[in-house]
Symmetry: none
Subunit: 211 residues, 4 copies
């Protein structure tokens, strides 16, 4: 019974998260809670039972997404022949995810609120740690410029969290791919121009971890 119920509950939770993700990606941060509930096929009441308020929903979404990214990173690292290839693949996959849900990140206040959660911070730490491994390895074998750190890469990826606008005659996916490639090329050693400041590594941020 409890098992049954839990399964139901889990399913509800997932449907809600999926609906929230879709709507946030497509309609912006303003989507009414009621619409999210409707898309998830549940009543508002149920939504609020699972997530006490809007910010809790966004937090859960955030954690969910970051965990997904961590999986992608781990798999890439394990599967690809070398670190740079792994990193490129990871970055491309992140962008392809259309992580619009994190677009909320665009609102400074929301962003702050989001990161006041230990769960979010911890998920993010896991992700940063593994990405840093990729970066380190790539830099060691000379396939990546050495004056950049995890934070630089994270910021670059986060720039892509928004959906690219439609350009007449260019597919959004293609545009995405082009921009991503340009970004990756900029991380290569061949064309490196000196950067202001120093790279920020995982160790430098882990105690605050609210960027």
């Amino acid at each position: 019974m409890t098992g049954q119920l839990r399964a139901d509950a889990k399913r509800n939770r997932d449907q809600i998260l999926a609906a929230a993700r879709d709507l946030l990606v497509n309609q912006g941060v303003g989507v009414p809670m009621e619409e999210i509930a409707r898309h998830a096929g549940v009543g508002v009441g149920t939504l609020y039972r699972r997530f006490p308020d809007r910010i809790a929903l966004l937090r859960a979404l955030s954690v969910h997404t970051v965990e997904h990214m961590t999986d992608l990173a781990r798999t890439a690292l394990r599967t690809e022949p070398d670190a740079w290839t792994a990193l490129s693949r990871f970055v491309r996959e992140c962008v392809a995810l259309r992580l619009g849900a994190l677009r909320s990140i665009v609102d400074p206040q929301l962003h702050t609120a989001l990161h006041q959660s230990d769960e979010v911070r911890s998920a993010r730490k896991d992700l940063l740690r593994i990405v840093e491994q990729m970066i380190d390895a790539a830099q060691r074998d000379g396939s990546m410029r050495t004056d950049v750190g995890v934070v630089d890469v994270a910021m670059l990826v986060s720039l892509h969290l928004k959906r690219p606008f439609d350009v007449p005659g260019v597919l959004a996916e293609e545009m995405d791919a082009r921009l991503t490639q340009l970004m990756l090329d900029g991380l290569r050693p061949g064309c490196a121009t000196p950067l202001p400041g120093k790279p920020t590594s995982f160790a430098d941020v882990e105690w605050h971890a609210d960027h």
Copy 2:
């Protein structure tokens, strides 16, 4: 007399635009109209007299900003010794502008609405035209990879329209500068990896001009 009155009105208009810009940059697209009015030191009524509704305000802001960017581009092209330097400077200046007002662009619906205005489209055309000149020149003298077009550059810049989040121990300005440089390096010929698709030039979009 009417002139005098107009001066007042003009001043109000400018104050409103300035206030709107600030607040939009710092608080996101959701800022209440009343708060904008308060910051501008006028009543809501005045705000609505100048800009019939929220979208009209955003449009005006958009045009204003784009025109400013066009000035920057023109000046850079005139002042700098070569095209690539001009383009780099222009890109850095755009980013430094913290064009947060255009962050509205992050909401697909808002973006569409924004571009239903001839004034916006035309301002944008002017900007694209001059940026394309810079790009062409830089490509001709071999300082820029030749497989990118205005639209790629415009999209790259637009990625910066949002304020970078605070990373502990790193100044936002520094972070901005680093990311910008990485992006610019990616546009150089030295490290170019083939891009999917073809570059989109001004001529390809000018008839629609709503990207």
Copy 3:
């Protein structure tokens, strides 16, 4: 359970309609929605949940009222010994209803908006059909002039949709009754003066039905 809930909702809906009717009759079309809500003993939110906007409320009210009139017409036709008596009674009852809610009809734009609803049009058709039956019968047995049609009668009745102003020393009800009688007398054959144009029957309007 759902049934029970619905019962509550139904009651609220009816209270809102009743309150709206009262206030519209007594204070004109301009009554604030909040006041309607307050009089109905519910929050504004509830009002808006039932009726998405002001016009929807007016439409519902309109349908409700027209249906009531249809009932009156049917009953009169069934109960009274002859058609003219039935028609007179129906007209008197309509007037007595103080159909002030329909006073909205006084505003051309509102009127147009009102009739863009199929429900309203269909309710009105039902009413017109039955009234036409009364008229036809009355005309056949010679108790009513034959140069008038439903539309004439409908328009005459609609003239009464506004509350008569207080005349010192005359009760509003009495005034109403006198005017109604004068109108009814004008529909008799005894004093008929030729009318310009031709009578409009139900068949002539039913396809448009938006008068």
Copy 4:
């Protein structure tokens, strides 16, 4: 100079009244003061200089209209061969005037406010007096039923102050003419049914005169 100015002022005043009348007739009581000013070709300031507030404008309009009706009544009485013909003509002319400006009369509060002006009351008295003369004469020569008084007629006419709704296939003017004729026929002796109450004459209301 003063003469010149006064002429200007007079012209302004008349233009405002005309514009107000048009707009009220066509768009309902809700017309913004600014729109009235625009239609009159003056600024709001000027409008407010002439009429301290909205109600003052409506009052002036009311007086203006009633005086016009009085003129019509007098002329009809002087010109037509007999009293009933004069009365019929007067009634038809009033209806044709489309006295929509007085539609304000539809809002009870407005109506009350309107009649708190001596000027309005006095203009109305003049009108009632002359109409009563017509009625008396018509009743004396047997062309009008004797159980009705000025107030009945006034109320009947006032019912026509609203614009008739468009009925597909029937011209508004024709509809107006038909209804008016039906009303007039009801005032004839031929088909008279006993009325409840007693007729109210001018003398009965003149001391209060705020119906």
